[in-house]
Subunit: 332 residues, 2 copies
Amino acid sequence: MALKERQTVADIGEFGLIERFAARLGAPPEGETWAGDDSAVLRAPGSTLLYTTDLLIEAIDFDMGYASGADIGWKALAVNVSDIAAMGGRPHHAVVGLGLTADCPLDTADRILDGLLSAASRWGVQLVGGDISSASALVLYVALIGVAEAEPIRRSGARPGDAICVTGVLGGAAGGLALLRAGAAVEEAARRRLVARQLRPEARLEEGRRLAALGATAMIDVSDGLIGDLVHLLDASELGCSVVPEAVPVDPDLVPLREVLDPLEAALTGGEDFELLFTLAEDTVQRARESLAELGTPVTRIGATQEGSRRLLGDGPLDAAGEGGWDHLRTR
Amino acid sequence: MALKERQTVADIGEFGLIERFAARLGAPPEGETWAGDDSAVLRAPGSTLLYTTDLLIEAIDFDMGYASGADIGWKALAVNVSDIAAMGGRPHHAVVGLGLTADCPLDTADRILDGLLSAASRWGVQLVGGDISSASALVLYVALIGVAEAEPIRRSGARPGDAICVTGVLGGAAGGLALLRAGAAVEEAARRRLVARQLRPEARLEEGRRLAALGATAMIDVSDGLIGDLVHLLDASELGCSVVPEAVPVDPDLVPLREVLDPLEAALTGGEDFELLFTLAEDTVQRARESLAELGTPVTRIGATQEGSRRLLGDGPLDAAGEGGWDHLRTR
């Protein structure tokens, strides 16, 4: 008896796969149409829409040697939800694009959808359609429509003298990546937490909404690295800053990884932690801390904005410290 | 003196390229934010949204041996506009994702944006943001939000006894692809028209809106091939049909290509013509013809729907004739 060969996506074809995926999206409410037509038909979730997209490509943004289909699906949605979170909004409807090699196991495609649907369920997102193509490497993107119920928190709204704060702890995603790539002697629970930060990032959605309600003046998610993203926020707000390196909340799980990577450097430039970096009036920091403590999320004040172009990290220039940050086209 | 090497996208980096692109999007109206934040902020264009996406991948959906950057950018937007047209809607806001090899000439990236912006201007679409990644082959997608001012025309609304009609002429995009791939002795003007059908497709946007207003019962754009797309429409409407092959409007420019491809077969299964295939009451066909004649677009009745599961193309089964249609994961 020959072993049954593993079924590939080519065996069921583009339209078979679309039908298989569409069947798992659930039933749309009256008046809406999701997959199965030229475009989805949706009720607008509000009068002010948020709109974002992120693209993940195999061997660039993830490695199928260590990321499962479900990890990739989860992350593709999470990073988009994080963008909506950083505006203080709420995500609603997503379309998904998937480029697959013809020999991709059908099981892998199913697991990618599993991951997308788990993340969608986690953050109240509805997948409403998409596109499938063949490709020479796995390509996955999500485009996400959200809604802003109040004024969205832009990067450009910081005022001189605002506190600069960040949620959670930083550097864990970089630590997880180092573990996946090189390995290191780390206690199992810490290993699991670090790897999850890399493969299964959380979007700080409720945190973003609370910070918006508390009057955060500017906000961005930490995707490229703390320093790089802070520079984006300061550039948009046309401000300087003074940041205290000792105040930066380094992920405690990085301590046993010191042989492999510098914990503070990972926290400053590692990227992909998807914490929220935000500014707000100094006299509101304590209230933000208390509000997010209810969600189990620490808030740390790492410095303050200031008029002018001086940007300091301790005694040195802040921008120079961010040069290790992620640039898709430059970092090889 | 050494020749200056051609500048690549890696020379200016992801953030340089984002800034370069963002500068060309124009200025958003009061209250909107486009590129440059975590997500775009938009006013909802209406209460019923249309939402679609299409992904194009190098060597699968286009070949950079014959398609310029501007061609690829144009087509990526046009195919999405066509999806909105097939609902009878109007396109509004698009995000764009671009995966580039690090050695991609900066000029190619600029030309892709040229093509996107030309098509956006042609159909009143605003590009509002996107994402850039590195990739091992060029990847380009658009996700497009449109608006339905009246009830969207779905694939599922056809009634038994409706006329089946199609706009324009068919097979030209397949003819253009054959010319680009193999060449053939064709008069220059015809060659130009066929190649344009493949590389610079038109979306039948105003046609779709007029057909919706005239009471089209179901509509789909011809992207996979006439037969394949008709089967999608009939499946969604749970109907049979009788189609007259002699009535199918074959692109007249295909006649001199007879040595290379069968014109009727190209019209039936060629795909990518982006004409509109629709059903409507028999007594409205003449009005549709007159209305679209004002736009210079012919309307041809190719058959009728009928109760039950019989689907005929002349004397043979319709579905079998569509097996040459495009399936991304099966067609190699």
